[in-house]
Structure formats: structure tokens, C-alpha cells
């Protein structure tokens, strides 16, 4: 295909659905009306972190007038999980975390459901718990899943029999002894990342209803309507054709709404509700401990460097605090493994990434999928070593960062990447070489930088598909299975379809997801929609366009090669004839002889990466671990109050190689939003767990950044080194935007006051304590 100048791709259109959003007219699941018949669901949740259920008595709850459904784990013992089927819908025999659902109630009012839950009696026999992943991985820890080896699982995770280790990803590359011997300096340190929560403004909510034919409809605030259909159908042993998932607008996800967390419970209640719809909505408190959280991490890093800053060897051990069920977390562990060196060329690597069961909330996907966590360790470590060797952190990164053609940690050859550019441009935009003056006495300033890489973390073969149908007036409907959770998928889909078809973007409507009518999409995760779904849309557009052009060519008696669609008209470069799409895309065209050509235009397209290869279980080596990596860097300047330890981020520069910005302004809004989410986790966020009990499950004590905490000055730099398998060369950017933020801030804090913070978040008190320690 000849390279044509794009007219719609690369333009910053406002998002297509924003009018509905600013008018309060955009419908989210909780806004949908189900009439007075609606039942209100509620979960009875475990109050203890680890126990056998000795007795569960629901008789009083059942007897309460207005209570229609009471279900327990005994009723539905099937297991589910995205990569490892280890998770029951309701606990069966054993509870493994505080917050685990043990029973579900649906009643005429939320108050009755709440009261009924209080009336359910559960007797626990408490067991010793596991509250630290390093301990959990040891032989001394109690076994949380004795049946681990019996669970169904994907082939690319490696469980360890008789342990709490549900995946162990190993890298054994090069010659470690030689690597250490070559190093002028070796530094070893341990870093920690606490559990955090995604905090979408909309909490998890689902409504389920069963019709007279036994067909179940689930309205779900989900990033994964198709994965939910798949997982729930499998766990209940019903046909996929019997379950329909509808997802309207959703109020943010950040990974929390990927896979299945509480939605199965809603379906199970609906199955017992005699046809009445059942709504299950999580409270903000439940959001912190009953749905997904980001896994905690203990990271041990040992790195060797030559005197001029070249990395000679890395030995990394990642203990992931996977929580009570690691159905999703096992793949985060894997992603951390194949990315374990960070975005650097390291010839000699010994890495272990272990997913460990603990009696903590369930770890799921969260924006960046393991990368913000490991980069917290790697990016501080490389910075500290640069300082120890009296080298410039920017130069050390530029020296070591992966370049095209170099081998990644798993032996994959790096594709063209703008990583070096990102590092250099971020530093330049922050005026890296020039120290700036504090705002007053008692204040100190510092600059920090961090680089990153991240590949879409997913199975090797997640598919996308799209269909395009035309209307009589020449407008079209683009059907996708991906979800717009705020990132702008609908707008990107519209732009790609319009560009591919040659019609104005105003003529494109993109539908939200209904699994009965929308084409398949694996999940809206991994920053993969623009890339994967985008490829499918372009192919659908191409098919539709081909149908139109062939029809017109036939009627006009022209060579299809001479025809094109421009701004909603088929034009001939040969004859300069032109015809609008209106009418002909549905009714076809009449030929000179009075007969007809064409018919309703329907384009379909699909995309699935077919080129990812397995990795060796013992060495982690293989030709292509992932589809590709998005790379980037952030640089920040902070000011610190010498007495209180308060950290203010003054300026934050983001630079990412997105391959091609389909909508540059929306790329920038992802960078801004991601950076502030990263800042928020860096400075404020932690689910405080004491013996498995969450101590701060509310916004009162789980603070997130407000408008005042966000940096006033933000600079966003788009680098475009095209990706060979991306639409117009595009890669994803949604998650990457928060990956390097926390270590960049930590590095800036260290530059300002010399305090090293090993454990997130960087609270004022930790900085204060560090400064006190220097006195």
C-alpha cells in the first residue's frame, strides 16, 4: 500500500462521547433503570484473614421478609481465574482474606440486604496467616492452597508443588561470575512496594437477570465483557451463548475492572432470583478489599557496573504479594520476569520473579501491570549506583538503555525504539544540567529522572475484531468489543475507521459493548486497544472500502486501482468522476444496463498476534517474549521542606515513544493523568494491612492526589518511532504514563536532600525521618 498522508489520524479531535458526559447524560451501569422489581445484592464478607469455615447458618437471613436470595459457596463451588483457576465465587470451606465473600444476599431494598447479611452466622476456626511474601515463599509458611497443582492453568506459568508459589519465572542468561568480575562496583539493596488500589471513581457494579429461556444478561462496569462471559460461563458450566454481557460507559478502571472480581457473585444471585434483576454494587470500602488491588512487592536488586557506568550483571529477586488468589497475579509475575532488568541491555542476568499466596486482598492488574513496582526498585538502584560512581544518572541511562538490535533480558531482539530520545528530551525539558533556586529558606530542590519499558502483558494470542456497517445516509457504525473507560477508545476507533474508509469522523459512530452484538475483543487491558483493536478496525475498514470501490468500478467500468474514497465520496483519479456514499452503501448502484451492483456494505476485520514464542522454563529465553515494548522516561523537579519533609512536585516532564500518535492531545492527556496517578501512589498511597486487616479502606485515610497536589507545570513530549505491527505505526501509552513516576520522584528527593526512600510511599514523615538521621 502506498503511503498516503493521513487527514484524520494524527489530528486531535475532542473525544466523541464528551457531550453526553458533560451533560450528565452518559449512562453508566448504576444509571440504568430496571424498575421496581430490582433486587439489591450484598456480600457477607470474611472478617478474618485465614480460617476454616466451621459452620455457616443462613436461616435467619432467609427468614427475614423481603429477602429473596441467599447463596453460599456450597451452592456454587466452581473455581475461576484468568490464568489460574484458583478462585471460588464464594468461599468454600476456607476463607483466605479479610473481605472474601462467604455468602450473597439479594433483597427488596439495600437496607434489607444489609440486615440479612448481619443475620448470617459464620463460625470460623482461625488458621495461621501469611502476611509477607518472602515468608510465604519459604518452607516455614502455612500452605494456603493445598490443591494448587490441581487447578486448571495456562501453560506459561510455573507452579511449585507443596509451596505457596503459584508462578516462578526464571531468567538465567550469560555468565554471572564473569559479570560480577567485570564490575568496578557492585551494589545490592531491597525495595518495597505496598498494596495500592486503583480507585476508579465509579466502584464496581453489576446487574444480572435471567430470562424465561435461561439466558443470563449481565450489565457490568467492566474492562473485559468477553473475558467475563468466558470466565463466568466456564465457572458455572454453562454455554457462552447463554450469557450476554453488556457494558455501557464505565467510570474508570485502571485494571481493577479487568477479569472477574465480584460479577460472578451477582450472576449466581440472579440465577436464584426467579427472573428478577439483581444489582450488586461495591461500596467504596469494599472497593479497597473485596475487588482487586495492586500486588505488593519485595524487590532485591544486585547490580554490577564498570567505572564508566556500564551495567555488567543484574541479579534480581521479586517476591510478589499475590494475595489470597493469584488467578491474575501469576501473569504480573511473568511480566515482571521478562521485563526484569528494566529497559537496559544487561548481558548477564539471574532473575527470579515469584508469585506468592498470602492472606491479603487479591492482587489484580493495575495500570502498568508490574512495571511501576519493579521500576521503583530498578530505577532507584541505577540512580544510586550512578551517584556512587560519581556519574550522571542521565548519561548512565543513555549508555545502558536498549537500542534497536540489542538483546533484551529474554533474548528477544529489540525493535526500533525511541528510548534514548525520550531520556534525552525529558532531561533537556527539565533543564537537567542547571540547578534551580528554592522558593525560600528552609527549602531544597532536586531533579530526578527515571526510564521505563513495558510490553502489553497478555497471553501470546489475544484477539481483536471489528465490524463496520453502513447506514443509508453514508454514515457508518463501527462495532468493537473494547471498552472506553476514559482512555478514549471510542474516539481512536472512530479516527481509525474514518481514516481507513475515507469518510469524515462525524460520519462514524462507535458502539459500546454488548457481547451478543459486538465482535470479540479479549480484554481492554495492557494498553493494547489502539494497537490490536486498531489493526482490526483498519482491516474492517479496508474490507468495507474494497466492497464499495469494487461496486463503483463495476458500474463505472473503471479499474478499482483508479478509485478512492475521499471525504465521503468515491472519486476516480482517471475520470475525475465522483459519487457520494449516501444511498449506494446500502442500496447498491444501478448499472448502465439497468441491473444492480453491490449491496449493504459490511466490513469485518480481525487481528491476533501470531508471532510470540514460548520461553524456556529454566532460562526464560526465547526468540520473542512479547509483541513489542513501549518505552519512555519522566523527569521531575521537587522542592522539599527541610523541617516537615513535605515534598512538592514542581515540574513533571513525560516523554514516550508511542510509535504514532493517532490523537496527539489524547496521548498527552494519558501522560498527564498517568503521571498524576503515579505521583499519587509515590507520595500518598498504601493500603495499610495489619495481620491481614485493612486499616484505611476509605478516602479519609487512603488519600489520593487532589488538584492541589498535582504539579502545576507538566510537559509532555511525544516521540514517534513507528512500530511495524501497529496501525500507522502506533503503540499503546495508557499504562506507561505512570510507570517511572514514583522512582523519578524518589530520585529527585534523594538529589534534593540525600534521603533514600526504599519503601513507597514517600511520605513527609519518611523524608523527615531520613533528614533527622543525617543530623
Amino acid at each position: 500500500m502506498a503511503i498516503k498522508k493521513t487527514t484524520i489520524v494524527g489530528q486531535s479531535f475532542p473525544r466523541v462521547e464528551s457531550n453526553a458526559k458533560v451533560m450528565g447524560a452518559a449512562q453508566y451501569v448504576d444509571d440504568m433503570q430496571f424498575g421496581p422489581n430490582l433486587l439489591h445484592g450484598r456480600l457477607k464478607r470474611s472478617t478474618v484473614p485465614h480460617a476454616m469455615i466451621k459452620r455457616i447458618d443462613v436461616s435467619k437471613a432467609r427468614a427475614l421478609p423481603g429477602v429473596r436470595v441467599v447463596v453460599t459457596g456450597q451452592d456454587y463451588p466452581g473455581l475461576t481465574g484468568l490464568y489460574l483457576s484458583d478462585r471460588p465465587t464464594f468461599a468454600v470451606d476456607r476463607v483466605r482474606w479479610v473481605g472474601e465473600p462467604v455468602a450473597g444476599v439479594a433483597a427488596d431494598t439495600p437496607e434489607l440486604a444489609e440486615r440479612a447479611c448481619e443475620l448470617i452466622e459464620v463460625e470460623y476456626e482461625e488458621l495461621p496467616g501469611v502476611f509477607d511474601p518472602e515468608f510465604g515463599a519459604s518452607g516455614a509458611a502455612p500452605l494456603l492452597h493445598p490443591d494448587l497443582m490441581d487447578y486448571a492453568a495456562v501453560p506459561f506459568i510455573f507452579r511449585q508443588p507443596g509451596t505457596n508459589i503459584s508462578n516462578w519465572f526464571k531468567v538465567r542468561k550469560g555468565d554471572m561470575e564473569a559479570g560480577w568480575a567485570e564490575a568496578a562496583h557492585i551494589y545490592e539493596h531491597t525495595y518495597r512496594v505496598p498494596h495500592v488500589q486503583h480507585v476508579p471513581l465509579e466502584t464496581h457494579v453489576a446487574v444480572a437477570q435471567v430470562d424465561g429461556n435461561g439466558k443470563i444478561t449481565l450489565w457490568s462496569a467492566s474492562q473485559s465483557p468477553f473475558a467475563q462471559r468466558n470466565l463466568i460461563a466456564k465457572s458455572l458450566n454453562i454455554s457462552h451463548s447463554k450469557l450476554r454481557v453488556i457494558t455501557p460507559y464505565i467510570g474508570g478502571g485502571f485494571g481493577a475492572k479487568a477479569g472477574v472480581s465480584m460479577e460472578g457473585a451477582c450472576v449466581v444471585m440472579a440465577l436464584n432470583a426467579k427472573g428478577r434483576p439483581v444489582k450488586l454494587a461495591m461500596s467504596r470500602a469494599e472497593e479497597f478489599h473485596t475487588t482487586f488491588v495492586r500486588q505488593g512487592l519485595v524487590a532485591k536488586i544486585k547490580m554490577g557496573m564498570t567505572a564508566d557506568g556500564r551495567i555488567t550483571a543484574m541479579q534480581n529477586t521479586y517476591y510478589w504479594d499475590g494475595g489470597a488468589y493469584t488467578e491474575y497475579g501469576v501473569n504480573i509475575t511473568r511480566a515482571a520476569g521478562y521485563s526484569s532488568t528494566g529497559p537496559y541491555f544487561v548481558p548477564n542476568v539471574h532473575a527470579d520473579s515469584l508469585c506468592v499466596y498470602t492472606n491479603h486482598p487479591v492482587g489484580g492488574a493495575m495500570r502498568g501491570f508490574g512495571m511501576p513496582e519493579i521500576h521503583w526498585a530498578i530505577e532507584q538502584h541505577i540512580d544510586r549506583m550512578a551517584t556512587q560512581l560519581h556519574l550522571d544518572p542521565v548519561q548512565v541511562r543513555l549508555l545502558n538503555c536498549l537500542k534497536e538490535g540489542q538483546e533484551t533480558v529474554t533474548g528477544m531482539i529489540m525493535h526500533p525504539t525511541g528510548l534514548s530520545q525520550c531520556i534525552a528530551k525529558a532531561a533537556e525539558a527539565l533543564d537537567w544540567e542547571t540547578p534551580s533556586k528554592p522558593s525560600g529558606t528552609g527549602k531544597r530542590r532536586g531533579k530526578g529522572i527515571a526510564a521505563m519499558w513495558k510490553a502489553p502483558a497478555m497471553p501470546p494470542n489475544p484477539g481483536s475484531s471489528s465490524t463496520i456497517r453502513f447506514n443509508e445516509d453514508g454514515t457508518c457504525l463501527v462495532n468493537i468489543g473494547g471498552v472506553d473507560m476514559g482512555q478514549g477508545a471510542l474516539t481512536i476507533a472512530a479516527q481509525l475507521a474514518a481514516e481507513g474508509l475515507g469518510i469524515p469522523i462525524e460520519d462514524v459512530r462507535v458502539n459500546t459493548v454488548d457481547t451478543d452484538y459486538s465482535p470479540y475483543e479479549w480484554q481492554t487491558v495492557a494498553s493494547r486497544l489502539t494497537w490490536s483493536m486498531g489493526n482490526a478496525i483498519l482491516r474492517a475498514a479496508d474490507e468495507a472500502k474494497t466492497q464499495i470501490i469494487q461496486m463503483v468500478a463495476e458500474v463505472w467500468g473503471e479499474d478499482p486501482q483508479d478509485l478512492d474514497i475521499i471525504d465521503g465520496n468515491v472519486v476516480s483519479y482517471a475520470t475525475e468522476e465522483s459519487v457520494p456514499l449516501k444511498n449506494i452503501v446500502v442500496y447498491g448502484m444501478q448499472k448502465p444496463d439497468g441491473t444492480w451492483a453491490g449491496g449493504p456494505v459490511v466490513g469485518k476485520g480481525r487481528f491476533m498476534p501470531t508471532y510470540v514464542t514460548p520461553l524456556d522454563a529454566e532460562t526464560g529465553q526465547g526468540p520473542r517474549a512479547v509483541v513489542h515494548f513501549t518505552t519512555g522516561a519522566q523527569a521531575v523537579e521537587v522542592e522539599i521542606d527541610e523541617e516537615t519533609g513535605e515534598v512538592q512536585v514542581l515540574k513533571l516532564v513525560s516523554a514516550y515513544d508511542v510509535g504514532k500518535a493517532i490523537n496527539p492531545d489524547m496521548v498527552r492527556t494519558q501522560m498527564e493523568g498517568g503521571a498524576v496517578q503515579g505521583l499519587s501512589t509515590a507520595l500518598l498511597e498504601s493500603i495499610i494491612l495489619r495481620n491481614g486487616q485493612p486499616m484505611n479502606p476509605s478516602f479519609t485515610d487512603y488519600r489520593i492526589a487532589t488538584a492541589v497536589d498535582a504539579p502545576v507545570e507538566m510537559v509532555n513530549i511525544i516521540v514517534e518511532v513507528p512500530q511495524d505491527d501497529g496501525p500507522y505505526g502506533a503503540r499503546g501509552i495508557g499504562e506507561h504514563a505512570m510507570v517511572p513516576t514514583a522512582p523519578a520522584i524518589a530520585n529527585a528527593v534523594r538529589a534534593a536532600v540525600g534521603v533514600e526512600i526504599d519503601s513507597m510511599p514517600i511520605t513527609s514523615e519518611k523524608v523527615w525521618k531520613g533528614m533527622k538521621g543525617q543530623e
Binding site: 458533560v22 448504576d30 444509571d31 480507585v199 474508570g252 492527556t669 479519609t700 487532589t706 502545576v712
Partner: protein, 162 residues
């Protein structure tokens, strides 16, 4: 325990019976089916449920429905006039201040109220004025831009109506 109340919402008068324990948010969303106002935390921390009560912004999750008796409420559905977006709605669209959109109704109401009491707010005043509205998507950058631009439009009497 039901109580009869009469109040106006977006200039429309309503006489309804409300449960004494239902908050204003629930009355608006469930009885009046004005679902633009969102519930993000039920604890007055996130601001997604912000509405105007007699012209001043409040967290409708922390107001009992019965307390609205005799008062005037404005929700996000009441910001547009005759189908024309208010300046803050326009600038939020144009400058990309909304992503997932769930905080947006509350942000719009709080911003609208801020501009009513302070037609020319500084950047710091805008940020402080929005501290009760959490947004997890935007990093607040475009929201602050949108408020600043809406203020400029209103001050220079640029008609919001095309």
C-alpha cells in the same frame, strides 16, 4: 418513614414523599431518575455527587432528602440552557477535561459554583476550589484549563451560544 417534601430541581417543582434515611443523592437518582449526579464514596470525600443547594455546592450524599424541603437544587442536568452547553461544559469538551466522565458532573457543578463566587480565579484558587472533587483520570490539568477558559469566556461575555 416517609416525609412529604416540595422542592425544585433544575427549576422544576416536585412534591414527593421521601424516606427519612434516603440521602438527597438517592432521591435525585432513584426517585427523580436524574442519574447525572454520581455516587463515588457516600462519605463526602470524592465530590462526584456535588449539586447546588440554593446556589451553593454541597455533597448530596451527606444531605438527607427530607432536608431539601423548600429548597432549590441544581444538578449537572440543569447546567445547559435551552440545549446550549454552559461555558464550563463547552470548555471541558474542547480542552479534554473529561475522560471516564464519572467525576465530571461533580467537577462541573463545583467549577460552576466557583466561577459564580469568583469570576476571575487564579490557578491556585481554581485548584483549591476543586480539592473536594477527586479525579483519577485527568491529573486535573485539563480541568483547571477548562475552568480558567470558562472564566475568561464569561468575563469577556463571549456568548456560549454559537
Amino acid at each position: 418513614m416517609k416525609h412529604d417534601i416540595t422542592f425544585t430541581v433544575n427549576d422544576e417543582s416536585y412534591s414527593i414523599a421521601v424516606e427519612s434515611h434516603h440521602n438527597l443523592l438517592r432521591v435525585l437518582r432513584e426517585q427523580l431518575v436524574l442519574t447525572g449526579t454520581k455516587n463515588g464514596c457516600s462519605e463526602g470525600e470524592c465530590g462526584a455527587c456535588t449539586v447546588l443547594l440554593d446556589g451553593e455546592p454541597v455533597n448530596s450524599c451527606l444531605v438527607l432528602g427530607v432536608e431539601a424541603d423548600g429548597h432549590a437544587i441544581t444538578t449537572v442536568e440543569g447546567l445547559a440552557v435551552d440545549g446550549h452547553l454552559a461555558p464550563i461544559q463547552q470548555t471541558m469538551v474542547e480542552l479534554g477535561g473529561t475522560q471516564c466522565g464519572f467525576c465530571t458532573p461533580g467537577v462541573l457543578i463545583a467549577s460552576h459554583a466557583l466561577l459564580l463566587r469568583n469570576p476571575d480565579p487564579s490557578e491556585a484558587e481554581i485548584r483549591a476550589g476543586l480539592v473536594g472533587n477527586l479525579c483519577r483520570c485527568t491529573g486535573y490539568v485539563r480541568i483547571v484549563d477548562a475552568v480558567r477558559e470558562a472564566a475568561r469566556m464569561q468575563r469577556t461575555s463571549v456568548s456560549p451560544i454559537p
